[in-house]
């Protein structure tokens, strides 16, 4: 990889990680969706850089497709759900913002440790960025576990998925096209299903506060 490619790759990875961390920082749901869209752009850029390096038209096309889905369609769906809900803020995260950011730092360290075998196997500039993808996956799980609004949980789920996609392209240039399309389709449908369920939840519970989900227990 030439220096320019490496620098561009690092830039894209940096933006990818930063948007993920900022999602923990903001509590307005609209801002969270915007940040998620920006992360989609960073992910598409990351794939485009890898494609430019390999001179692969296929990767370039994949970058466009991923960008359209993750920076276009999914944020659009989230915005629509947000507009319908009338909810503006993540009112009461279980962990407050300052502690969340500390947790993000710890998760980044953990991701770096976990990814050592991957880097050792093939120490290229691309695999050296793998801890970034792993950090975003961890952040996704963190958001999923600590945020109490339905929409925040959907964003957490999508963060995990962004991280895994980045991981797939950083390690081995992506899975095969059939699988990649299948995965994207599954993610899109899962978000649609969650959106419909959010609507039903609002009808049944009068809001999307997940703490209200207490009907079922042993």
């Amino acid at each position: 990889m030439s220096d320019v490619h490496v620098q561009l790759l690092d830039l894209a990875c940096g933006a990818f990680l930063l948007t993920g961390v900022l999602i923990l920082w903001r509590s307005e749901l609209a801002k969270i969706v915007t940040l998620f869209a920006l992360q989609g752009v960073a992910l598409a850029a990351l794939i485009a850089v890898l494609g430019a390096h390999e001179g692969s038209a296929e990767l370039a096309a994949v970058a466009v497709g991923i960008g359209a889905l993750r920076a276009g369609v999914l944020p659009y769906l989230l915005r629509r759900a947000l507009a319908a809900s009338g909810e503006r803020r993540e009112t009461k995260p279980i962990v407050n913002v300052a502690s969340s950011l500390v947790a993000a730092a710890v998760l980044a360290l953990l991701a770096y440790a976990v990814c050592q075998p991957v880097i050792r196997l093939a120490p290229t500039p691309a695999t050296q960025a793998v801890p970034v993808a792993m950090t975003v996956i961890f952040l996704g799980f963190f958001v999923l576990a600590t945020r109490r609004r339905a929409l925040s949980q959907v964003v957490g789920f999508l963060l995990i998925d962004n991280g895994i996609t980045a991981m797939a392209f950083l390690t081995a240039g992506g899975l095969s096209p059939v699988v990649e399309i299948g995965v994207s389709l599954d993610v899109l449908l899962a978000v649609l299903v969650l959106q419909v369920l959010t609507t039903r939840m609002r009808a049944a519970f009068g809001g999307t506060d997940l703490d209200e989900l207490r009907e079922l227990r042993d």
Binding site: V118, T171, A172, L175, V179, A190, E215, L216, D218
Partner: protein
């Protein structure tokens, strides 16, 4: 090649028909027909010498066997569908049920036929998406909550498996294998880098384990199983869990040569014992019979994991037989639970008494299926559990088997206590129909009459009556059900004019219970004594499932060679 595509194509076609024609008339039985087709394809495929394949698909002995399981359980579940939905007055919801259940079966067939680990993952995640609205079918608070938890927990869990797929792909690429084909991966497993492969395999087992309902990732299971419509619960518990478990077996095939057998064995043992422990603890004081069945599924998935941990040929043969036996027995129970729920209006154990006296067929079949599930002879689960335990001692995990046996003893006691309460004894004392309960029961019926439900319900009820009359001469069970049908008489039924009104009357308390938590006990008590009517489809499905499970226990017959071949795929 056609045989490989058909198991996916048939349910897709049936789904298309439901989407176009809706859920009505004889079309309602199309689902059972397509499921029987899947079963036939599975049997035909297992009889072939060389595994046939199609682009992206292939059917080796293990895949064919799983198709048989899917086909058999789906046929039972789909037979029970029409009568379960007979009380449904929402045509759109019924149509959606038809489309989604068939899509669900198609996705499971794709999962077991996929030649590519990535496609297998896509198919398993697709089952989550398709079943989300089936779990949330009733739109009550509890159903929406269960559906939300189900989608979020399963999607996040299965995301771990996708990460595992990505890392395995990386390890394979570094070993010079640019492919995710299961057979290719298995053939080159020894070349994989152990460091990366270890992370990948752990993630894959945990991810698919979430979907298989293994503890500690089981949180979604009891909620989803208890809220879904009974036939869907039967499908989810009977096969969906096993399909996820099948994915774990496929991962094990790749993992063992790459990492040595100890790694997967230890991981599977932890999952198995934790699952048995969770099931035992939560079954002791269980007060909801649908949740009891759900926790029993966790128990049986734990037993499967225990058998897979043992890992020998004998163990795997027993595990696969257990998959089929559990699928049959559990679907019989869930189908029966749907009828009990309709009759009593409550899924609480306390609302059900003297089932055997109220309906010898329902009570008898439910009780026998419970005994089957507890591993009593002559049912096949006795043979398969025995096989798993014997193999465990042989393969050097005797201590784990001993722990499992102790936990199993607790489970048998707990389930036995709940089961005997529901089935034996005299029905709850018939209360004089005081004004309040009578009015309470009659009101929903009148509402249903106004909504035009009887017209919808009249036809299936009449059909069911005809069928029962024709069967009565054939099977003793059906004959004993006959007087039950004649004797149906509820206070609420008197207020309805048509005979079909009983259908609506039985369904009404079930609906009312969703609105107010205080309702079901009362409705259950008022409906606690009179006989229960068992629809024909349900009766056929329950008896057929029990007979199959019992026959399998006496002799596996021609299935033995299929089982051996399938086990050979996992333990070459």
């Amino acid at each position: 090649m056609l045989l490989v595509v058909l198991p996916i194509l048939l349910p897709c076609l049936a789904a298309a028909v439901y989407a176009l024609a809706g859920w009505r008339g004889p079309v309602r039985w199309l689902g059972a027909l397509s499921s029987a087709g899947v079963l036939a394809c599975g049997i035909a495929l297992s009889l072939q010498q060389a595994p046939p394949s199609a682009p992206g698909l292939r059917a080796d002995a293990l895949s064919s066997f799983m198709l048989i399981v899917i086909g058999a359980v789906a046929t039972l579940a789909m037979l029970a569908g029409p009568s379960y939905l007979a009380a449904e007055d929402d045509a759109r919801a019924a149509r959606r049920y038809g489309v989604l259940t068939q899509g669900f079966i198609a996705a499971m067939a794709l999962a077991v036929l996929a030649a590519n680990l990535g496609v297998l993952w896509v198919a398993v995640e697709a089952t989550t998406i398709v079943t989300a609205f089936l779990v949330g079918h009733r739109r009550t608070r509890a159903a929406v909550e269960a559906a939300w938890k189900y989608v979020v927990v399963c999607s996040a869990g299965i995301a771990l498996a996708l990460l595992g797929v990505v890392l395995l792909h990386f390890a394979a690429a570094q070993a010079g294998v640019e492919s995710l084909e299961l057979d290719v991966l298995a053939a080159h497993a020894a070349d994989l880098d152990p460091g990366v492969a270890r992370i990948a395999v752990a993630l894959l087992l945990l991810g698919f384990g979430t979907k298989a309902g293994l503890a500690p990732m089981h949180a979604w299971l009891p909620d989803a199983h208890s809220q879904a419509p009974a036939p869907v619960s039967a499908l989810m518990s009977g096969v969906l869990l096993s399909v996820a478990f099948y994915a774990m077996l496929r991962v094990k095939v790749i993992a063992d040569p790459a990492l040595g057998p100890a790694f997967t064995r230890n991981l599977l043992l932890v999952l198995a014992l934790l699952s048995l422990l969770v099931a035992a603890l939560l079954l002791i004081a269980q007060r909801d019979y649908k949740r009891m069945l759900a926790y029993s599924s966790i128990e049986h998935m734990g037993l499967l994991a225990l058998g897979a941990a043992a890992g020998g040929r004998l163990a795997l043969t027993a595990v696969l037989l257990h998959v089929l036996g559990h699928g049959l027995g559990k679907s019989v129970l869930f189908i029966g639970s749907g009828t009990i729920l309709h009759a009593t209006g409550s899924s609480r154990v306390a609302a059900v008494r003297g089932l055997l006296a109220r309906s010898p067929l329902l009570g008898g079949a439910f009780g026998l299926a419970l005994l089957a599930l507890l591993g009593l002879p002559p049912f096949s689960l006795f043979a398969s559990e025995l096989g798993i335990f014997r193999a465990g001692f042989q393969d050097g995990i005797g201590w784990a088997v001993a722990v499992a046996l102790v936990l199993l003893l607790v489970i048998v006691a707990a389930v036995g206590r709940i089961g005997s309460r529901m089935i034996l004894g005299s029905p709850l004392s018939a209360q004089p129909p005081d004004a309040e309960t009578a009015a309470g029961a009659a009101e929903p019926v009148l509402a249903a009459v106004a909504a035009g439900a009887p017209q919808a319900a009249a036809q299936p009820a009449a059909e069911a009556g005809d069928r029962r009359a024709t069967e009565a001469s054939g099977t003793p069970e059906a004959a004993s059900a006959e007087p039950v049908l004649v004797a149906v008489a509820t206070p609420a039924a008197h207020s309805a004019e048509t005979g079909a009104g009983t259908d609506a009357a039985e369904a009404a308390p079930a609906k009312a219970s969703d609105e107010e938590p205080g309702g079901p006990a009362k409705a259950g008590a008022s409906a606690g004594a009179e006989p229960v009517k068992v629809p024909a489809g349900v009766a056929v499905a329950m008896v057929a499932g029990l007979v199959a499970c019992g026959l399998l226990g006496i002799t596996a017959g021609p299935l033995q060679s299929i089982l051996d071949n399938a086990a050979q795929v996992v333990v070459p």
